[in-house]
């Protein structure tokens, strides 16, 4: 199955692109997907503990199973607003 991965801020800087299309085996979880990135990008693995993940624009645990066409967001610690 195919999923679309969107990476932001520091995560995008590390991976070098903001959007990646990935082919995964059926039954793969969000955690499996992230292992794919952690293997290739040790710097991303270094921030694994603080990364949040979203599936179809909702925050999701790493145990969530992915479906064909899902959009996965890789979300470093969020900070909206000013320095406030």
């Amino acid at each position: 199955m195919q999923v679309q991965v969107k990476l932001f801020a520091a995560a995008r800087d590390i991976v070098g692109q903001g959007e990646v299309s990935l082919q995964l085996t059926e039954g793969s979880t969000v955690g499996d997907l992230m292992e794919h990135f952690f293997t290739r990008y040790p710097q991303l693995k270094a921030m694994a503990g603080s990364l949040l993940l979203a599936v179809n624009r909702e925050f999701a645990e790493r145990t969530v199973k992915l479906q064909e066409g899902d959009e996965v967001g890789v979300i470093p610690p969020v900070s909206g607003g000013g320095h406030v």
Partner: protein, 136 residues
């Protein structure tokens, strides 16, 4: 009422967008780029969002607020892109029949925005640039 935009934000437009004849109270919050952060002189900021999810989370914040307070309208506009010192990064406006509802809902909205709305800022100063993390 929810936007992620590269255009400058206007508190005046936000106020007029949420105004209704049934409202006695209107509260706003504006986040502004500061000159100093952590003791460093800031040159400018770059804001980035996950826009579709940001809008979805702003809608969720509205729903949470409506579950807690009687309000009329809520607006949240977040700016992205290049921001100079003194420019507004976020504007929240809430209208309500009574003052406590408007004020409490407005304070709640900015707290929740910091927690769940995916927007990042990169602080650019003479030392280099840094992505700024949650709750800052």
């Amino acid at each position: 009422m929810f936007e992620v935009t590269e255009k400058p934000l206007s508190v005046a437009e936000a106020v007029s967008a949420v105004s209704k004849r049934t409202c006695g109270a209107l509260a706003t919050f504006t986040g502004v780029v500061r000159e100093f952060s952590r003791g460093k002189q800031v040159s400018y900021l770059e804001y980035e969002a996950y826009p579709e999810m940001a809008i979805a989370k702003m809608r969720q914040i509205e729903q949470e607020i409506r579950d807690k307070w009687e309000i009329e309208q809520i607006l949240i506009h977040h700016r992205i892109g290049h921001l100079e010192i003194g420019e507004a990064s976020v504007v929240i406006a809430v209208s309500a029949p009574h003052r406590r509802q408007a004020l409490e809902a407005c304070a709640y909205a900015i707290e929740r925005l910091k927690q769940i709305v995916p927007v990042w800022k990169k602080e650019v100063s003479s030392d280099g640039s840094f992505w700024i993390g949650m709750g800052s």
